[in-house]
């Protein structure tokens, strides 16, 4: 599934590179442009798991320096696996 979120930094963490680096290091997260003038960071999630959004959102909310997380956009994809040639 594909989703986008905005993570808002706490006042104390604003400008902190380590917070951004930690988010960017997550294999299913892509961080968008962040110039430090706003406390908000745009993110996208590309997860194979239908529960990926929930899992990653909770992970984000638990990160030090993250005040709150807003979900902006969600796109669900079919999770039913396609039949292999041996099954059809």
């Amino acid at each position: 599934m594909i989703a986008s979120l905005v993570a808002t930094l706490t006042h104390e963490a604003n400008g902190s590179k380590s917070v951004i680096e930690e988010l960017a290091s997550h294999p299913e997260i892509e961080t968008g442009e962040f110039d430090g003038t706003s406390r908000r960071i745009p993110l996208t999630i590309d997860s194979a798991s239908p529960n990926g959004l929930e899992t990653i959102t909770r992970w984000l909310q638990d990160r030090p320096g993250i005040a709150f997380v807003d979900v902006i956009f969600v796109h669900f994809e079919a999770t039913t696996p396609k039949k292999t040639s041996s099954e059809s």
């Binding site: 986008s4 996208t44 590309d46 959004l53 709150f68 807003d70 979900v71 902006i72 956009f73």
Partner: protein, 805 residues
């Protein structure tokens, strides 16, 4: 040729790019709405059709993608003037509102502590029995989420059929003060301006509302202009910081009822500095003050000099004392209104309406626009917004209020009753002249034993959730002592789509169709009437609310109830096909043999001309993304109206008049400028209850959350209600972020988690709790004090105390 896997990859890349663009737009503050998703680029295997969004009063248009009988996609409609293809996070997920796991699918009759399934035929008999036994004790509690035909059918059934005016909507709880404010000022309801004002104003003032979260697509119209370099000043007058505050240059934090003083302060400065628009006032305005001996919306006429004298005490310093807003900021507002070169739009919603002086405040906001001449031109507009998708179209225009008839008519006026009886072909005298019970009175009466004056025995609730939204819920539904003593003869019917706090109280539950599971027409905040066709089937045995009303009416007709017949003995809802033959639309299998919506709408249209709220034929709305009334035919084209009362814009303004308030209460084409004094809120913090509780909504959830809490993405984004508390107040009570607290008023208490320095920031002494969470009924604590004219409760000011658990 591309393989399917290459197509899928490209598609995923497009979606990821759109997702990042959306997040970036929100993060950078350049928009609170989501980017345009081209419906036909996503998937041209779907059937796409238009509809207004199911949620708020903005009235965004969406494109709904259907496949295999199911809504599978939603996109913003680029052809829609309201939203130009944009949607907010709720709008993007509106399709999912249909598919919660626990949709109601069968009629259910209470059986002991549970329910048993019954047939629709049996359900209709149950309702007909209750009505037949005591038609005068029957009431309908309706909604600003009713479609126009649904509200019209209910109105005709109860007022035209049962000679009973006990019909009132949930909009009594949200819009009633806006209505009385418009009526007292202009003699007719609803805004003069429209959303176009947001595209041209230089100054936008928010009076106690939070459009960044509640009307995000509208707010984005203003923010987008600023991000492109336009100079626009945004001013937030509020009791707490919100997302809206973050976008504003000026935040004026006020105490409860401070708005009354601020409005008077602006008027005081305009007059003292000689900066009011003398020509506008002398040409187009009269002056009024409340008549304490005979309180009504006409008041007492006063002179301009008397008006000035009444405003004398409201110096900036006095206003600072009353409101908490610094005198320099009052002067700033005065200077803005004094500048004739600026275009100023005022926006308000629940902060101004859910107010024990809501009517007064509404007239005062209109008043400062009239006094300063910031009226009647694009960008110069006092505009109240609605929260519900059709509070305007259905409640205010169809008149589904206890005192009203369609098209701005009143039950108390003989000539209005005669007109309606003629339109409906009813015997003379059928319509009852006595207004029915307004919302709070209706429910108080229902919850009072019959032998103690509880004159309402049966209520039929459609498309709303009073078990969560009425104020002071414990008084109504959980009184002390034996909760049901003396109420055994009462009967609650609830037409709903999901189980709610209200269905838990019901004796009969009727499963209802929702949004694009039925034909519909809504009317939004800018006088725009919007139509859609049914696109998918409702689940199980769920059926349209309009059908339910007509079916009950016909059951009574079969039993010989005279009220269900018109003057010629025909059924009240006699719907004919193109060949002129009556269609048995009360039978569900025949309901969609014809377009019942079109039949009812065309019948209703004729009512709309008296107050110059003309509607076009139904077929015009099928073609358009809505039209703003009055819609009049000129040179073979149906033309909508952007600005009312202004020459050149409003077709009913006579040539040479420039501005004409043609429904003036003083019959001289003038509006009324009201003076109202500041008074204290009905309940203020004291030693025992030292905090002021205000309630409201959040971006992710719409109203009571009965739909949005079942959309997984929205529920995850905001799973539970919380109490916002200032960090210093929290520290003094040893409360940390996430701690559970008990919040208690004189009426009830809740255990709830604290959120400190979160999305909103109340000042010291104020707390905020959103009302979307049915597991945390904050309205058990709220006050049921009412505005004396509109009978609307004040949800924004209840005194509470807090302690850590």
């Amino acid at each position: 040729m591309k393989t399917s896997s290459e197509i899928d990859t490209k598609r995923r890349e497009f979606i990821k790019a759109s997702a990042m663009a959306a997040a970036a737009a929100v993060a950078q503050g350049s928009g609170f709405s989501l980017p345009i998703v081209q419906a036909d680029e996503i998937d041209n295997e779907l059937n796409w059709a238009k509809a207004p969004c199911r949620f708020c009063g903005t009235g965004c248009h969406v494109q709904v993608g259907v496949q295999n009988g199911k809504v599978v996609a939603v996109a913003g409609d680029q052809n829609a003037e309201v939203n130009k293809g944009l949607l907010c996070v709720k709008g993007y997920h509106v399709g999912s509102a249909l598919y919660g796991k626990d949709r109601l699918t069968k009629p259910l009759l209470r059986n002991g502590s549970g329910y048993k399934e019954i047939s629709w035929d049996a359900a209709l008999d149950v309702i007909a029995d209750r009505i037949s036994d005591a038609p005068e004790r029957f009431a309908i509690y309706g909604s600003g989420q009713w479609t126009i035909p649904e509200g019209y059918a209910a109105q005709k059934f109860i007022k035209g059929g049962l000679s009973n005016n006990h019909i009132d909507p949930n909009a009594r709880l949200c819009m009633a003060s806006a209505v009385t404010g418009f009526l007292a000022t202009y003699g007719v309801d609803e805004p003069a301006g429209c959303y176009d004002d947001l595209d041209t104003c230089d100054v936008l003032i928010m009076w106690g509302n939070n459009p960044a979260e509640m009307h995000p697509v509208l707010f984005s119209r203003v923010i987008d202009r600023r991000s492109k370099g336009e100079k626009i000043t945004l001013i937030d007058i509020s009791t707490r910081r919100t997302r809206t505050t973050e976008a504003c240059q000026h935040y004026l934090e006020m105490k409860g009822h401070g708005d009354l003083a601020i409005a008077n302060g602006i008027a005081h400065l305009l007059i003292k500095n000689g900066k009011y628009n003398r020509k506008f006032v002398e040409s187009f305005c009269n002056f009024k003050t409340p008549d304490d001996q005979n309180p009504n919306l006409h008041g007492k006429s006063i002179s301009f000099d008397e008006y000035c004298q009444l405003l004398e005490p409201y110096t900036p310093e006095k206003v600072e004392e009353l409101s908490g807003v610094p005198a320099k900021d009052i002067r700033m507002l005065g200077d803005l209104f004094a500048d004739p070169k600026l275009k100023i739009t005022s926006l308000w919603c629940m902060g101004a309406n859910q107010h024990t002086r809501g009517t007064a405040l509404n007239t005062q906001i209109h008043g400062i626009h009239l006094l300063s001449g910031h009226f009647g031109k694009p960008g110069d507009s006092p505009t109240s917004l609605t929260g519900q998708p059709s509070a305007c179209g259905t409640v205010r225009e169809v008149g589904t209020l206890a005192h009203a008839l369609p098209g701005g008519r009143l039950v108390a006026k003989p000539e209005h009753r005669q007109q309606v009886e003629q339109f409906w072909n009813l015997p003379e005298g059928r319509i009852n002249p006595k207004p029915g019970n307004h919302t709070v009175k209706m429910w108080e009466s229902f919850c009072t034993p019959s032998d103690q004056g509880g004159d309402i025995g049966t209520i039929w609730v459609q498309v709303t959730n009073p078990g969560q939204t009425l104020p002071n819920l414990n008084k109504l539904f959980n009184p002390k002592g034996d909760a049901k003593a003396g109420l055994e003869d009462k009967f609650l019917i609830v037409s709903e789509v999901y189980p709610t706090a209200t269905t838990q109280l019901a004796d009969l539950i009727l499963p209802s169709a929702m949004w694009v599971e039925k034909n519909g027409i809504f009317g939004n905040s800018e006088r725009r009437t919007q139509q859609w066709f049914k696109m998918v089937e409702p689940p199980g045995e769920a059926r349209d609310d309009c059908w339910q009303t007509i079916a009950v009416a016909h059951r009574l007709f079969e039993r010989g109830l005279e009220g269900m017949k018109d003057r010629d003995g025909r059924f009240l809802f006699d719907v004919k096909d193109e060949a002129g033959k009556s269609v048995p639309v009360w039978q569900w299998e025949n309901y969609y043999d014809v377009n019942v919506d079109e039949h009812l709408f065309e019948e209703y249209r004729q009512f709309t001309r008296m107050k110059h709220k003309d509607l076009a034929p139904y077929s015009e709305y099928v073609k358009e993304r809505g039209l703003r009334w009055p819609v009049v035919e000129r040179d073979g084209q149906w033309q909508e109206t952007h600005l009312r009362f202004s020459e050149g814009y409003d077709p009913y303004v006579e040539d040479g008049k420039e501005i004409q308030f043609y429904h003036s209460t003083t019959k001289d084409d003038r509006a009324q400028l009201w003076f109202h004094p500041w008074i204290e809120p009905a309940e203020v913090p004291d030693e025992q209850y030292p905090f002021m509780l205000t309630t409201g909504r959040v971006l992710e959830h719409w109203h009571t959350g009965s739909m949005t809490r079942r959309i997984p993405e929205l529920h995850r984004a905001m799973p539970k209600a919380y109490i916002e508390i200032h960090a210093d107040d929290a520290a003094s009570l040893d409360i940390r972020n996430g701690d559970y607290v008990i919040v208690e008023s004189r009426r009830g208490s809740l255990k709830i988690q604290a959120w400190i320095s979160g999305r909103g920031e109340p000042p010291r002494g104020t707390v905020f709790v959103p009302f979307f969470d049915e597991t945390l009924l904050i309205n058990e604590l709220t006050l049921d004090a009412l505005d004396p004219f509109s009978k609307q409760p004040d949800y924004k000011k209840s005194a509470v105390r807090i302690r850590k658990v």
